[in-house]
Each structure stands twice: as structure tokens, then as C-alpha cells.
């Protein structure tokens, strides 16, 4: 059982949790993720570790409400217990001083991007961060990102904060302005696909952190497999970060939708059941 120490909503559908998990807090590095299961009937869901405190023995997770399981998670509060949390999983990000690093995050992908921005900055890099959201209310971690970035650019679809436009436009602006040695992109698969195309055009080595469907998270099932450079790789043990220019994002998108019909059906039923209870 893993106790939720703190919980707050960062935006309407995105919640941040601080969870007691001392072993994971001690072992985790930037890029690592965990798998959790809320209760006996729950799914195993992968979530990137957004932050951790060794002293307090806690990890920070950020989750977006998209289906039954994430809805149930976001309904939990400080003092509640999550039945299972296991990790840290995946390979840690390779952090070194390469010069100037461009970090781009879209939507809730900003959460897993934060520990990488932080580690890259602490390793002595010049860090330029571009974060994107549909509108002002959906922008998360702005202050934390600003703290560890030499420059923070915010892009919104409606221009309600920062600049109006897509994440790729913000990236392009930086790339045209100065020499970028490495880029890291995290967000929805579509966003990563286009962000990778942007950096490829300019021959900038780029990593993408993939968020695929998983069951065990230890290499056992292969649900998370993706094609990278024409080779099948398991995100859970070979990733989650891969050369963004070699990832087959179209295949990944299609695999992410593997259970879409079933999931949206379950979610509607679940939401209806909640309403029935509240009436």
C-alpha cells in the first residue's frame, strides 16, 4: 500500500500526486517511470516519475483524466492508499553536458519532461524549454520549468498565454536562432511525430520518450512494442527513450488506440454509473 501524501489539480483534468515510495524515490533517475494499480480491480498503468524527494521518501506523479482508471486515480485524495506501485522502470535518460539542449513538451508530456530539464540544467547545459497546451488553463509546471530553463517558451493554440501556435513553431524559432546540440520531445504521439520531423530537418539528434500501453512493465508481455529503425523494441526495458527520428509514430499511434472502442464504452458506462450514484 502506497500512501498519497499530497494531491492537487494542476488543471481541470490533470492532477499531481506526491506518494510515499522510499525505495523508488532513492533509485529513480530522470526518465524513469512506475506502474501503479489503484485497487484489486484496476489496470496496471504506467506513469513517468515527475519528481522525487529522497529525504521525504516520496515520488511525484502527474496524471491526466482520460479513461476509467485515470478517472479513478484522479478521484483519490491525500491520505488515500494506492494498492500497488512498482518501479523505477525503464532506462534512465542519458544525461551529459552536450552544450545547448532543446526540451519540448506537449500537454501532460510536460510532466515527464521536467526531471530531464532539471537534470540537463544541473549537468551544465544551456536549456531552452518549449511547452505547449491548448490554452492558458492547461499549461502545467510553468514555474518549475522556468526555474531550470535558461529560457522558457510557452505556446498555446489560442494564444491565451505565451505565443499563439504549435510546439513545432516554438521549436523552429529557437533552432533558426541558435545552434542546438540535442533535443528531447515528450507529449502526445502526434506532437512527437511532428516535433521529430522538425528537428530532423535540421539534423539535430533527438530523443522521444514514448508512453505506450503496458501490462507488467518488465519486458514480460510486449504490449508496449514499437518499431524503431525498422526493429521491434520494448518501450518498458529498451526505452522509454528512443531516437525520435527512427520511431514509427504512425504504428505507435495505431497501437495506442488498440482498445479505444472498448475503453470509451467502459468510460461512458463508468461516468453514467457515477451520475446514477450522485442522483
Amino acid at each position: 500500500m502506497f500512501k498519497i501524501i499530497e494531491k492537487e489539480f494542476l488543471s481541470e483534468n490533470v492532477a499531481r500526486f506526491i506518494i510515499e515510495a522510499p525505495y523508488i524515490a532513492k533509485s529513480r533517475k530522470a526518465g524513469h517511470f512506475i506502474i501503479l494499480r489503484i485497487d484489486e480491480n484496476g489496470e496496471r498503468i504506467p506513469l513517468t516519475i515527475s519528481d522525487a524527494s529522497i529525504e521525504k521518501g516520496t515520488i511525484t506523479l502527474i496524471a491526466q483524466r482520460v479513461g476509467v482508471s485515470s478517472h479513478k486515480l484522479c478521484a483519490m485524495n491525500a491520505g488515500d492508499y494506492i494498492l500497488d506501485v512498482v518501479g523505477p522502470l525503464g532506462k534512465a535518460t542519458h544525461i551529459s553536458n552536450v552544450g545547448t539542449v532543446l526540451c519540448a513538451g506537449g500537454g501532460v508530456g510536460v510532466a515527464p519532461l521536467f526531471p530531464i530539464v532539471q537534470a540537463m540544467k544541473l549537468a551544465g547545459n544551456r536549456v531552452i524549454t518549449v511547452i505547449a497546451a491548448r490554452n492558458k488553463d492547461l499549461v502545467i509546471l510553468e514555474d518549475k520549468m522556468r526555474e531550470y530553463s535558461d529560457e522558457l517558451i510557452i505556446m498555446t493554440d489560442d494564444g491565451s498565454i505565451g505565443k499563439k501556435g504549435l510546439v513545432t513553431q516554438g521549436m523552429e524559432e529557437v533552432i533558426l536562432r541558435e545552434k542546438i546540440n540535442e533535443a528531447i520531445v515528450i507529449g502526445p504521439a502526434v506532437m512527437m511525430k511532428f516535433a521529430a520531423l522538425t528537428t530532423k530537418k535540421h539534423n539535430i539528434p533527438t530523443l522521444a520518450s514514448l508512453n505506450t500501453i503496458m501490462v507488467d512493465g518488465t519486458g514480460m508481455c510486449g504490449a508496449c512494442r514499437v518499431s524503431v529503425g525498422g526493429k521491434t523494441e520494448f518501450v518498458c526495458i529498451h526505452g522509454p527513450e528512443f531516437n525520435a527520428h527512427e520511431v514509427n509514430f504512425d504504428e505507435m499511434l495505431s497501437r495506442l488506440n488498440a482498445y479505444k472502442e472498448k475503453e470509451s464504452e467502459n468510460y461512458s458506462e463508468y461516468l453514467e454509473s457515477l451520475e446514477a450514484v450522485s442522483v
Binding site: N41, G219, S254, A258, K262
Partner: protein, 497 residues
């Protein structure tokens, strides 16, 4: 896989007065005339729609009848066939004498999981293949597996779960990595020696492949839990959600006072075929399919985990895992649940019993056929599978005839989902976290004759050493490793003293 036969010991035991008397009650010739019993099975058309156990077990009468068949041979070759060296004639004769709980004690001397082995061991190629009836009379071997199950089940239902004799606790901490058959065996054996044992399990539930892999209809989870509970009663501690090599390293655990380690992390890395379209949705490894259904209860409305199954399900492969998958698909409501296997039924590695059960349950077999490509609908979900017919050539390294593709024989099969059951590779997590640990070119961990790895104090066994093998071979490794770990600690104490 064969254990040594300590003939003197078995002969001495065989001369015990009660056994001598029992042997003389029925003449050997009369014993050989008793017909072999058969397992009572659930109706195939009932069982293929539910998860009830296929083999229902023996009645007391059937078990006694079969116990009479055992000749209590001077040289019990059956024991050679058992990877954990169970004293087979002794337990059968206890059963024949009516002391069933005594028979259970004999089983537990060498085997901490008899109710499991009685269900999933391939006895027909192990103990039963070495039986006097098979070797000398060209007949059918004693039904040792069925009797083992009977005795273990009787013990579970009629005793308070007595645990074996334990040495005085010595306070020495030992770590076991993985709670599958190898890990559970080591844990039980080390507890008997008096060690303070902790088992670390990566998943949220205990039992490893016994839980996520083998389906309920072949091995009920309640039986696995019962056996694990007995090991808990022996003082063994279990920690779930803990991945050694990730949550903490072996060095971290050494700092916490653990003195020796047993790595039993299993063959948890599924193989794929690397053919076009294999990453379409709806194509999953047997590990994924079985884990979703067995561990996560997918298909049960109360649980949130989904699974791809459907009306037409093809399972590629011919091993026990393929049979488990295809029979599971049938139970999930498939109208056509099909095995596609590249060799013929004769070469199929699955147990004869599993193949027989599958055929009875309405599983289709498309043998001498291999997939070449998959096709998907507009949403990327698999829809069709192109297969090619195969002929059989000369025997290959495995001794089985090599399949040879027949050009121009391709045709398509409609599918709603596909399960790939073409084997597994060793899980790489421990090896990734310890680059100094020596491995083979197949990424299995190298061990010596005592199951010790290249790092002193670090032992390994089961599928992480063997690649994909069986429950009982993993348990055999566990017994050997526990001995090795015990000697290692004794020597260490001597050196330090």
C-alpha cells in the same frame, strides 16, 4: 534433468516391515493385471465455456486401485525420472496402506509444491516414462502424477497444512528474487535450514508463471495460494512490487544484510516472428494474452483491464503455452480457436494430455503451416493472416524434422486476434543492472554445478538459466541451489570464524 538414484537408501527403506508386508498382500502378477485408471474429466463442451478445472481428480477408490498397480520395484527407476527426486514408491505405498497424510509427508520431503506438480508436470516423459511397466512390460506406467495430485489434494482438504520440520532459526538473511516455482522451492528449502528468507516479486501477486501464465482451468489459483501460504507458515517473508535491479540493486540488499541471493527472474521476454504486420493491434504475445486474462482478470466485467480475443482467434505455436492460450481464447467465447503450427502433430512439444484436451474442446489445428504476413483494417487492428504450408525435411538440431516452406501454397485466414506463442527469452533486468554477471549468448545466466553464478554468493535457477523450460525443472534447480547456498554460507562462516 535426471537425479541420481541413491540405491542403498531406497533399498533400506523398501525393506521396512510394513512395506514388505504390503508387497506380499497382492502378488506382482495380479498387480500387473489391474487396469490402469483414468483421470475424471469435466465434459469438454461444459468446460470450454468456463474456467472450472478440466481434471477433476481421482476418487479414493480409483487412487487405491492405481496404488495397487505399483510393484514397489527393487530398483525404483521412476525416481531417476523425477527432477526433484521424489521417493515415488514410498509415497504410493503409504497411500496403498491407507496412510494418505503419511504419503503427503513423503511428497513434501523433496517437493514443496506437490499439488502443483501433480497437475502440471509432464510425468509422461519423466517418472512415468521410467516406470517398470513402460521399461520392461511395454505397458502403461503407473499414473504417478494423478496419484501425486490425489495425495496433495487430500492433504490440503484433510489436514491443517502441517509444515515440514524446520531447523532452529539462525537469523541469517537470504534473498530470493522471483516467486515462481524456482523461487518458491528455494525459499521453502532455505526455511527448512533455518534461514531468514525474503522473496522479492516484481508483480503485485505471488506465484510468477503459476499465476500469470498457467490458466485457472489447468491450475486453480487457490491451489497456488494455498502452497504459497504454507511457505509463509514456514516463516518466509514475501515482498511484492519489488524489482531487484530496479527498486533496489543486489548491492543495496547486501547493505541491508542479505548474505546470499537466488535469482529466479524467469523467461519473461516473449519472442516474436519478425514478419510484416506483426505489430498491428490485436496481435499479442502469449505472455500478454495470458497475463491479461489470468493475472488481470480481463474479460470479467468487474475488472478494468481489457483484452483482444474475438470470434476468430489464431494462436501460433505448438507448446504448452500455445495450448493454454488457444483454450483460453475458446473460453473467452471464440467460435474458431485455431492452432497454427509449422510442424505436424507428432512434433508438437505440448504435453499429449493438453493436445487431447484441446481437441476435445473443439480447438482447430492447422498444422504444417506458418504465418508469413498480417493485414489490418483501417484502424490498424489485425483482420487477416497470410499463411504458408510447410513440408517436413531432415531432422534439425532439436531432433525434430525441419519444416520447409512450400512455394505458392499461401492462403489467408480471417482473424479477430492473434496470439504469438513461439517461445520466450530470459528477462534482461538483472543482467542489465549487473554487467559483471556472466551470461551465455542466449542471455541466460551462467551457473556452476551448485547453481552459483560468476559472482560468489549469487545463485540462479529456473528459466533465467534454462531459457523456457518446465515448472519441475525450475524446482529441481531450486533444490540444488538451496543446497549450494547452504554450503556457501557454512563455508563463509568457517572462513570468518
Amino acid at each position: 534433468m535426471e537425479s541420481e538414484l541413491n540405491e542403498e537408501y531406497y533399498k533400506k527403506e523398501r525393506k521396512a516391515e510394513w512395506r514388505d508386508k504390503l508387497r506380499k498382500e497382492i502378488k506382482s502378477k495380479d498387480r500387473t493385471n489391474i487396469p490402469k485408471i483414468h483421470m475424471i474429466e469435466e465434459d469438454p463442451l461444459v468446460r470450454n465455456k468456463s474456467n472450472i478445472e478440466v481434471n477433476k481428480g481421482l476418487t479414493l477408490e480409483l487412487a487405491m486401485q492405481e496404488s495397487h498397480r505399483c510393484l514397489d520395484c527393487v530398483s525404483p527407476t521412476c525416481i531417476i525420472g523425477c527432477p526433484v527426486g521424489t521417493n515415488i514408491p514410498k509415497f504410493i505405498k503409504y497411500l496403498e496402506s491407507g496412510d494418505i497424510l503419511g504419503a503427503a509427508k513423503v511428497l513434501k520431503e523433496n517437493n514443496s509444491l506437490p499439488a502443483i506438480c501433480g497437475r502440471v508436470c509432464p510425468q509422461e516423459i519423466q517418472c512415468e516414462a521410467q516406470c517398470f511397466y513402460v521399461k520392461k512390460l511395454s505397458g502403461e506406467g503407473a499414473a504417478i502424477g494423478h496419484l501425486e495430485r490425489f495425495v496433495a489434494d487430500y492433504d490440503r482438504e484433510n489436514s491443517d497444512g502441517t509444515i515440514p520440520h524446520l531447523e532452529e532459526p539462525n537469523g541469517i538473511k537470504m534473498a530470493v528474487i522471483g516467486s515462481g516455482p524456482a523461487g518458491l522451492t528455494v525459499a521453502g528449502e532455505l526455511a527448512k535450514f533455518g534461514y531468514d528468507v525474503t522473496v522479492f516479486e516484481a508483480l503485485h501477486d505471488l506465484g510468477g508463471v503459476l499465476k500469470y501464465g498457467i490458466p485457472e482451468f489447468r491450475l486453480p489459483k487457490s491451489i497456488v495460494d494455498y502452497e504459497i501460504n504454507n511457505i509463509k507458515k514456514m516463516g518466509v517473508k514475501f515482498v511484492t512490487n519489488f524489482i531487484v535491479g530496479k527498486t533496489a540493486t543486489i548491492d543495496d540488499l547486501k547493505n541491508e544484510g542479505f548474505n546470499a541471493f537466488f535469482i529466479a527472474s524467469g523467461a519473461g521476454l516473449p519472442n516474436f516472428m519478425n514478419i510484416p504486420g506483426e505489430n498491428f493491434s490485436g496481435i499479442q504475445s502469449a505472455n500478454e494474452f495470458l497475463t491479461r486474462v489470468n493475472l488481470m482478470n480481463a474479460g470479467n466485467d468487474k475488472f478494468d483491464t481489457p483484452v483482444h480475443s474475438g470470434k476468430n482467434v489464431v494462436v501460433v505455436g505448438g507448446g504448452n503455452t500455445a495450448m493454454d492460450s488457444v483454450r483460453t481464447a475458446k473460453r473467452m467465447g471464440a467460435e474458431r480457436a485455431i492452432i497454427v503450427y509449422r510442424r505436424s502433430l507428432e512434433e508438437m512439444p505440448a504435453r499429449a494430455e493438453e493436445i487431447k484436451h484441446a481437441i476435445e474442446e473443439g480447438i482447430e489445428f492447422i498444422n504444417l503451416t506458418s504465418p508469413v504476413e498480417f493485414f489490418a483494417n483501417e484502424r490498424g487492428i489485425v483482420q487477416k493472416m497470410r499463411v504458408q504450408k510447410m513440408g517436413l525435411g531432415e531432422p534439425d538440431a532439436s531432433g525434430r524434422r525441419r519444416p520447409i516452406p512450400i512455394e505458392g501454397s499461401e492462403y489467408d485466414i480471417d482473424v479477430d486476434s492473434v496470439v504469438i506463442a513461439v517461445g520466450v527469452s530470459p528477462n534482461p533486468i538483472i543482467q542489465q543492472s549487473m554487467p559483471e554477471l556472466e551470461t551465455t549468448k542466449w542471455n541466460t545466466i551462467k551457473v556452476d554445478e551448485n547453481m552459483m553464478t560468476s559472482i560468489p554468493g549469487l545463485f540462479a535457477g529456473g528459466d533465467i538459466v534454462r531459457g523456457g523450460a518446465t515448472v519441475i525443472l525450475a524446482m529441481g534447480d531450486g533444490r540444488k541451489a538451496a543446497q549450494g547456498m547452504h554450503s556457501f554460507i557454512k563455508n563463509k562462516i568457517l572462513v570468518e570464524a
